[in-house]
Each structure stands twice: as C-alpha cells, then as structure tokens.
Amino acid sequence: MNSMDAKNSLNETHYWHPRRRASGEIKLLRLELVVRGQTPCDGIGVEWSLAQPTENLSPESAAAALGVEIWCTQSGVKNRYRTLQLRYPPEQFSERHLEWRPAAELLSSPRARLNWYWQSGLIPHPSSKIPGTGTGTGTDAVGAAEGLAMGVLWDSRAVEPILDSQTAIQRFANISRNFKTDV
C-alpha cells in the first residue's frame, strides 16, 4: 500500500504496522480495522452512515470517515484523547464517555436495535472461513446450536447475499410468465 509507506508526504505520516493483514482480507473482516479497546477513540467515534459506499473501503478512508487514527503512537493517542475530551466535556456528553455498550442496543428488538459503526461489515461472505459459518454448516441443522461455533453471532443461513441484477431480472421473468393476457 503506497500510503502505508514510511516515506510519505510531509503532512501525514502513516506507520506501517508489521502485524497488519493485507487489505484484501480486511474487506472480509472489518473488525480488523478498528481494534476494539486499543484506542479510547472507539467510544467517541462518528456513527457509520449507510449512504457511504463501503465495498471500496480502504483502511485510510475508513479512518478519515470515522475521524479515528489507528496505527499511531501512544502520544498521538493521548493527544487525540485530550482533543476529544475538550470537544465533548463529560458533563454534557455523558453518553459519549460510556465504556460499556448496553446489551439492549445489540440484542434487543430490531426496531430499537442500534448497530455500531464497526458492525457495518459483518455479513459474512459465503466463502468465508469464520468458524460456524459457510455453506456446510447450519443448512440441515435441526437444533439452533448445531453448526454454530461458540461466540459467533450469526448463521450463514440467516443471511442472504445482496440482491443482484440477475436475480432481479429472473424473478421478474418468473412473475411475467404468469401474466394473463393483458395486452
């Protein structure tokens, strides 16, 4: 990644993290982008917007959109935290300084549920290697827990790939095959 190179423009220096995965894999598992608990900026980041196209998301653009620096030094983190504390005083913005996320936000009824920004990319690709998901598991399962690994929030069968144009056209053709004479 050229922007990850240490010899970069004067204004922005990104450090190349030796343990970072290649960007192609990152697109499948967005959890890698914002490592929870390692920056205090987690709780004070910007909410995700559905209007942004996400399939061509790179870590830099994610960081720019979120206003969160990742892969930077501890002093950078501290500076950031200080800025944010000044920007959001805890007395007025108590909800931004919570450390815990209420279970109600994640597990409750879909109407009241709130998905946090790091959960934007959690629909697993059909060929993903996430334990408990994939085409082999959960398809003929009789019980709920069968085919589901511990700690995995989703099941491959409870998720559909995005509605693509070929499917749309096929379904329209099927419906119109049942049209009576309307001409």
């Binding site: 061509n56 879909p110 499917t167 749309a168 329209f172 095959r177 309307d182 001409v183």
Partner: protein, 555 residues
C-alpha cells in the same frame, strides 16, 4: 361441426324426451303432454344456448390467438434478456477502461458535473459515448433478433409492440436499478451515463409496421419506443424482484421450522431494500429539486416571459417525474403491506420473526412519509392515480392496525380528495374513545396537507380540528380530558343556559370609592350583620353605605 353438434345434442335430447315419455306412459295423458312440451322447450333452449356459446367461443379463439401472439413475443424477449444479461453487465463494466473513468468514479456523487473540458477530454468523452452507444445498440439488436421478436413483430400492431416494449423496458430498468459493477456500489448505470454524456442519446433499434423504434438512455434507465415518445424511463415496481411469492402464507404454513432462517434472511433483505429505495427517492428528488431551484433563481433574478415559460414547463416535467417515482415506490409499499397481512397470522408463535416484520413495517412507514414531502412541503400536487395508491396502502395497513388513527385520517382525507363521500369521516369516532384506545403511528398532518389541495374549506377545518384534538390528547394525556372539555363547554355556554335567572349587571365601585366598599366588606366580616337572611344583609349594607355617604363619607 356446429351442425353436427347440434344434431347430436338434439338427438340426445330427443332420446331423453322419448325415454321420459316411455317412462310416463302409465301416468295421466295431460302430465305426459306437459312433460313433452317442457322437454321440447328445453331442447330448443339448449340448442340456442349451445349455438350462442359456439359463436362466442369462435370469436374468443380468434382474439386469443391474436393476443397470444403478443404475449408469446413478450415472453420470448423476457427470457432472452435473462440469458443475455451478463453480456449487458459486461458492456457496462467495460467503461472502466476508458481514460479518466477511475478518477471520475472516485469523485462521483450521483449527479452529472459540468466539467471544463479541453479538446482532448472532449474527444475522449465522445469516443466513450460512441463506444458504449454502439455496443448497447448491437446488444439490443442481438437480443431482438435471437429471441424471435423481430419475426413476431410483423404480425403485431403498433399498440402491441408498444406494450411489449414497455414491459421489456420495465424489466431492464429494474435490473439496472440493482446492478453495480466491479463490486463497487458507486459504479451504477447512471455513472456510465454521466461519464459518457449519454443522457438523452438515442439509437434506432428496428423497424416494424413502417415505424422506427428507438432506445434512448437517461440516468434513470433506458426508454424504448417511437421517436416521438416522452423521454421518461419506466421501471417495474421493485417488489417484483423480492421473490415474495416464495414466502407466501401457504408456503410457510406447515413448514415454519424449515423455513425460519431463510425467511429471516429474506426479511433482512427486504428491510435493506426498502432503505435503499428510500435513499433512491431522496437522491432523485434532490437532483430534480436542485435543477428546479436553479431555474427558479434565474427567473427570480430576470423575470421575463420566456424564462417563466421555461420554468412552467420544467415544473410540469418535474411533476410528471415525481408522480412516476411516487407510483413506483407506492406499488412496492402496497405489495409489502399485503404480504405482511398475509404472512403475520401464520407466524403467531415466532416472536423473533415477528420482531423483524415489525421493523420492516416501521421502515415501510417511514418510507411512505417521505412520499408526502413534495406535496406537503413543496407545491407539487399528486394526481388522482397516486392518491388511489395512497388509499390502497392505507386500507392495507388498516387491516393489521385497525386502531391506527393517523391511517384512518389518511384514508378519510384521501377518499374526500377522490370524491368518495359514502364513508363520511369515520376517524371522528375516536372522540368518543379514551386516548389510550387508539394509536397515532405517524404524523397525520403531512397526509392531511397533501390531500387538502382538493378539499373544501369546511372539510379542511374539520380535519384540522380532529388532528389538533388527537395531538392534544396524546401530548397531554389524562383520563379526565373529556370531562374537562365538558366542563369548559358548559362554562362557555353558561350565560345562555338560564337566561331568565341571569342577574342584572352588578354595581361596581368607582376606583375612588374602593375604600368604602372595603369598609363595608370588613364590617360584614366582623359580624356587623348578624342575620342569616341574605336580603336583610344586603339591605343593611346599603343602609350603612347610604348613611356613610350622608355623613360625608370617610373624611
């Protein structure tokens, strides 16, 4: 064949008559005669009916043969498009190789941007336009030829070809709405159109019935038709792509445990698709509103007749466009409401799926409220057709939520808009109920504003008062509200209630005599007057006061 059939039937009837006669030989002669007459009459009737049916059948068969030709031709086209769709996707994806496209894509926000072009860029754009246009024309030529539509179109009338092309166009635009290239949701059909400046560009397709048929491109899709047709592409309603019939009530009924997870997945897809529909609506409306706003500003600065003419024409175009978009979205919402009504009773014992369906309901509701905006906030007026769709949606929702007052208000005002006065204003019944016995699930004022355009002033006042009372009852809820309303009403009417017992206007003290009055009151308070008789008290007070005045007052 007619004659044979009639003969056969007559023969059979005659045989039956003979058999009946033979069976009734033992009975009285009058009965036999009557039976014979009746049979003959029956036979005659049967023969007539048979003949009429035959004639009708022949006529129908002729019509059906003609109509079947058109439908078959259409189905040929439809199936061929399904087979050829990957090629179309490939043609559109090929736009990526044009110079400057990647940069355009990175900065693309869904609308065309006037670029300052040097000659080289203009050349590149023109080349791109030519390349894509040619490729698409060739593609459609192949589709029409290989499906056999060209041959079939020789037997079809202009109207039938138009209808077939309309359905074909709807299918293509539905596919284009869902298409995105290279795994990038920003790379849509409108990206290609805006990059190559294909908006409004047309290509001839084929010739039939002596007329030339064209395809023209716009950012919203493709339009097939004659050269003189309006350039507004039509899209099939989005629900046709959702596959709702795979999850109808009869499909789910006895297989709930097997169907649970796919149904869950499908409901999540529906939620996402409705959100995407709403975003599409907002995007398209924003673009046309900005165009109109620019023209409006131009006219405001320089109001001359031709500019105002242009503005009026643009407003008309905008109106037609908004009507099309509204009807497109409403048809999907109506289909989803009907599906929910269909499916929810079958899923009584599935609380998590019901929760997801509830969320889908909420998302459809929020989408519907967006459609009110152009007519409640802006000056757009929806046509009768759109209001009928609104009414259909409202009635579909009332089947599941019969206590929803905002929906009842919507239906009532929509009916009055359309001139259906038979139902009256049934939403006024909520005035007799307690405020927890009905529900206000969305803001009724946006619907009432939309439909107030064609209501009489009195009807509008009635709706305004109903909405005010409803909002007040929900905003300051108290079980005593009706009681207080009655108290206030009777208070306001008090003077007219007992007119003969009304007292004459009482004496009020002049400001300079106020201390005399205070003295009188104090005197009474201190037990100066001891009788319980009120009249005596009053007399005594007046006596005291007149003595007081006679004695020169307080000086």
């Amino acid at each position: 064949m007619n004659n044979n059939k009639q003969d056969v039937q007559a023969a059979e009837a005659a045989e039956a008559a003979e058999a009946a006669e033979a069976a009734e030989v033992a009975e009285a002669a009058e009965v036999a005669e009557a039976a014979e007459v009746a049979e003959v009459a029956e036979v005659a009737e049967v023969a007539e009916v048979a003949e009429a049916a035959e004639v009708a059948e022949v006529a129908e068969a002729a019509e059906v043969a003609e109509a079947v030709g058109a439908v078959q031709a259409l189905q040929l086209l439809t199936q061929e498009l399904v087979k050829a769709w990957p090629r179309l996707a490939e043609i559109l994806s090929q736009a990526k190789v044009f110079p400057g496209f990647q940069k355009f894509l990175d900065g693309y926000r869904g609308h065309s941007v006037a670029d300052k072009l040097n000659s080289k860029k203009a050349d590149e754009k023109r080349n791109a336009q030519a390349a894509v246009g040619e490729a698409l024309a060739v593609f459609f030529g192949d589709v029409f030829r290989q499906s056999g539509f060209l041959d079939a179109s020789k037997n079809l009338s202009t109207l039938q070809i138009q209808d077939a092309l309309r359905v074909f166009e709807e299918q293509i635009n539905l596919g284009l709405y869902h298409w995105f290239g290279h795994n990038d949701r920003n790379f849509q059909f409108r990206t290609v159109v805006h990059f190559c400046d294909l908006d409004g560009v047309g290509c001839p397709l084929f010739e039939a019935n002596g007329e030339e048929w064209f395809v023209s491109f716009s950012e919203h899709g493709m339009r097939f038709g004659l050269e003189t047709d309006a350039h507004i592409p039509r899209t099939a309603p989005a629900y046709m792509a959702y596959g709702l019939e795979e999850f109808s009530a009869s499909q789910i009924q006895n297989r709930v445990s097997k169907v649970r997870r796919p149904l869950f997945a499908r409901i999540r897809t529906l939620q996402r698709e409705v959100c995407l529909l709403e975003e599409e609506w907002e995007h398209r409306n924003a673009i046309v509103a900005v165009e109109y706003g620019k023209m409006h500003e131009k006219v405001r600065r320089n109001p001359d007749a031709e500019a105002q003419n242009e503005l009026a024409k643009m407003f008309e175009r905008l109106g037609v466009f908004r009507n099309e978009m509204a009807s497109w979205m409403l048809k999907t919402f109506i289909a989803l409401e009907r599906w929910l009504t269909d499916v929810i009773p079958v899923l009584k014992y599935e609380p998590d799926i019901l929760a997801e369906l509830d969320a889908l309901d909420a998302v459809v509701l929020s989408g519907l409220q967006k459609i009110f905006l152009p007519s409640s906030v802006s000056r757009h007026l929806y046509s009768d057709h759109i209001v009928e769709l609104f009414l259909a949606w409202g009635e579909a929702r009332l089947l599941r939520h019969p206590d929803d007052l905002s929906c009842q208000l919507l239906c009532d005002s929509a009916r009055l808009f359309l001139g259906i006065t038979a139902h009256g204003i049934s939403s006024a019944e909520f005035l007799q109920k307690k405020n927890f016995e009905w529900v206000m699930s969305f803001d009724p004022t946006s619907a009432l504003k939309t439909f107030s355009r064609k209501l009489a002033a009195d009807e509008h006042k009635v709706f305004t008062s109903l909405a005010t009372i409803a909002i007040a009852q929900k905003l300051w809820p108290s079980p005593l509200n009706n009681y207080w309303m009655m108290c206030l009403a009777s208070l306001a009417e008090m003077p007219q209630t007992f007119p003969d017992k009304q007292m004459p206007y009482p004496v009020r003290p002049l400001p300079q005599n106020i201390n005399i009055h205070m003295a009188a009151i104090l005197g009474r308070a201190h037990g100066f007057v001891q009788e319980a008789n009120v009249d005596a008290e009053v007399y005594k007070e007046r006596e005291f006061l007149s003595n007081f005045f006679a004695a020169g007052g307080a000086e």
